[in-house]
């Protein structure tokens, strides 16, 4: 008979092995990172530009520029682009964040040569048609009006303003009249300034011919002169308001955010605070989930995270709870914060978190596209490629004393912003 009361012997994972990107360059000097992994004949090519919110002259410019790229180019209309992409079973993906803009092509290897001409024009020769621009503005505005009905969206937007203020690009919140203030000239000028191949990094992931750069060189060989854009700089401003309540009539649930701005991603305390965050709210068995969902049943989910942008990171606890549980849930959140500041974490809980986190890192590095996402994070923040090896070492060596020190340094109650969106 087997003894079902005893867990099978476990093996702790102390080290990590993963494919590092190979750094190469196109003939024109654009850096290309190769991640050759996986067994399917597919690939992803991602172009990353420093063309996010931080450098935009007006709200919406970085987003709309990014979206306009595939809506018509020198030799293809928006429809023709879509038709080419669809005909070869490919996908285009564009993404914008506080600091960066990116455009990715996913395709089967066998179709890459057919797709490069159109993908090249998307990156290098967008047409910026007035008709497409108007349609895009109207669609985006309508999406915005739908989002405004969601407590989660409202909480997210207002929380950025509370963290960074409207005097910093990270804290700007979209208003309806912003849609009327933007013109196609803004888009075209932003593109000229920020979408140069010199301002760009490329990541290729999948299973591909290592000589792939020579294919790209035929297209992405722009030697066009480009203006050097002065680096923009905005001072970070400390939060002014710590208790914020946003009214949303008729809401059945309240969205809650509790958090604060932190340091940059390369700060020496980042990894340790990140491990502490996992204990508090970073996984299903975390303190917040165990208490507020699994014991009290106030919510479908609660979590905490540290989100990093280039100039700053922030810590945030977020949840949506039944309106009648709003105050009780907030009280429990503060109880958990107090506990993490005042009580040493037990050996068994820390052991669990260490193993869980190591497993998470292995999962996050599994497969070509996962590796590509991780490489993008590394490149965006200027971190070393062996970052995750160091992180696993840090996880293995961290002590309960170090964690309580982190909690008291960074998670003092009166330094936290509390924001509620609800009825």
């Amino acid at each position: 008979m087997i003894d079902r009361t005893v867990q099978p012997k476990l093996e702790a994972i102390k080290s990590l092995d993963y494919t590092h990107p190979v750094e190469t360059k196109l003939k024109n000097g654009t850096p290309v990172y190769h991640i050759n992994a996986g067994s399917q004949e597919v690939l992803k090519i991602e172009f990353i530009f420093k063309a996010g919110h931080y450098v935009q002259p007006k709200k919406l410019v970085s987003l709309l520029t990014n979206k306009m790229l595939s809506l018509g180019t020198a030799s293809y209309s928006a429809y023709e682009i879509a038709e080419q992409i669809d005909t070869y079973g490919a996908y285009l993906d564009s993404h914008i964040d506080k600091d960066h803009a990116s455009v990715s092509l996913y395709c089967l290897n066998k179709h890459l040569k057919k797709l490069l001409p159109v993908f090249h024009e998307i990156i290098c020769k967008p047409r910026f048609s007035e008709t497409e621009f108007k349609t895009l503005i109207n669609k985006t505005k309508q999406e915005h009006s739908i989002n405004l009905e969601k407590v989660k969206y409202l909480a997210r937007e207002h929380f950025f303003t509370a963290l960074y203020s409207t005097n910093h690009p990270y804290g700007l919140k979209l208003e309806f009249d912003d849609f009327d203030k933007i013109s196609l000239e803004d888009i075209s000028e932003f593109y000229q300034n920020y979408y140069s191949l010199i301002n760009c990094k490329i990541i290729i992931s999948g299973k591909f011919d290592p000589e792939i750069n020579s294919l790209l060189d035929d297209y992405f060989n722009g030697t066009e002169s480009f203006k050097t854009i002065p680096e923009k700089h905005f001072d970070l401003i400390s939060p002014k308001e710590y208790k914020i309540k946003i009214k949303k009539e008729g809401a059945l649930q309240s969205a809650i955010r509790i958090g604060k701005p932190l340091f940059k991603r390369n700060h020496p305390d980042y990894m340790q605070l990140s491990i502490l965050n996992t204990v508090l709210g970073g996984y299903f068995g975390s303190r917040l989930m165990s208490n507020i969902r699994e014991d009290k049943g106030y919510t479908y989910g609660i979590g905490s995270s540290i989100i990093s942008y280039f100039h700053s990171s922030f810590f945030s606890i977020s949840t949506e709870v039944g309106s009648e549980y709003t105050l009780a849930a907030i009280e429990e959140i503060y109880n958990e914060l107090k506990r993490i500041r005042e009580e040493l974490i037990s050996g068994s809980e820390l052991h669990l978190v260490k193993n869980y986190l190591t497993g998470q890192i292995i999962r996050s590095l599994d497969g070509p596209f996962a590796l590509s996402d991780r490489a993008k994070m590394i490149i965006k923040h200027g971190l070393p490629f062996d970052y995750f090896k160091k992180y696993v070492q840090e996880i293995n060596s961290i002590s309960p004393q170090k964690l309580i020190e982190m909690a008291n340094t960074y998670l003092e109650k009166d330094m936290l912003i509390e924001l509620i969106v609800g009825a």
Partner: protein, 412 residues
Amino acid sequence: MIEFKRYLLDNGLTLIVHQDQSTPIVAVNVLYKVGARDEHPDKTGFAHLFEHLMFGGSENIPKYDEPLQKVGGENNAFTNNDYTNYYLTLPKQNIETAFWLESDRMLNLAFSPKSLDVQRNVVIEEFKQVFLNQPYGDAWLLLRPLAYKKHPYQWSTIGKEISHIENAKMEDVKSFYKKYYNPNNAILVVAGNVDPENIKKLADKWFGNIPSGEKFERDIISEPVQTEKRELSVKRKVPVNAIYKAFHMCKRLDKEYHATNLLSDILSNGESSRLYSKLVKEKKLFSELHAFISGDIDEGLFIITGKLMNGIDLKKAEQEIYVELEKLKTDIINGNELLKVKNKIESSLTFSEINILTKAMNLAYNEYLGDAHMINNEIDYYLKVTGEDIQKIAKKIFRPENESNLYYIAEQ
């Protein structure tokens, strides 16, 4: 091509093992052949609530999650109308913990009253968060009972209403478990860098002595043929008007399934698709417009849903949808357009083979449908579809008496 080995244990548990040497992660998927369609009309939402209770501890393991997290693993589950699926991933060194955990909750649950109390609440908050506190969140709660009058697809997995969840009793939990959570009603898939013979041994060790459950016949009322067009208009505090159209379509295993899926792709997969290019981009009637199929095991739904641009008349916009549907009935689509949607399918099937967990889930689902091998010949069925096949489907399903329409009217 996904290669695998299939075994049948004496107690009726099906085991499928897929070896992939490229990953340090192992995926374990346990599919139970029970979903919301097996629920009583007065006790809906139960299969999904039960899924939550599967994490409330089993006979020998007080907490499911802790031991798994302790070996670097992570898990989740979902319930739909046809089945309930539990899945986990963990570093391959610790694979045996997955067998220990999954076999214990198949053997016997703890049936903790506290867990039932808390999870009722959690699911009620899920109901509010996903279906009630979102603009258009209740669309499926309204559309299903419009399209289905008899068949249990008339309710969503979350349930018809919150009171059904509030009223769930421990005795219901126990009898549901006894009837459905048995090795002969489950499929276990293990995928990763593993040796199939070794996995078979582990399965015998941990699952082998779990007794079989009593066999049962599924007795689901089939949906009578719809004979007239149905409509429902609701006023809601939403920013713009929206249309949801539902047409009855074939079963998942019907020979018309693949042509029906391609038909939805012609309408709506990618920005060059007909509905998007004509009605969103060219005529600017909708801010978004989608067509997709539910793909359920029993007769499913072909859905078309769109949000109108501000100031556009709802009936006029709807008329333009009909114009597009009519074209599919009168004209046979050309070879290039057909090739395009087939290429998209080929590509999405290949992309779905990248992730080890996705492969494990797809193997389990195909085995549930009848044979895991279907995962590898799916593409052939798509490639065989002709323009005439698609026209035939369009004529068959795009008829007023096969149609149910839900309209959201924005309250000013």
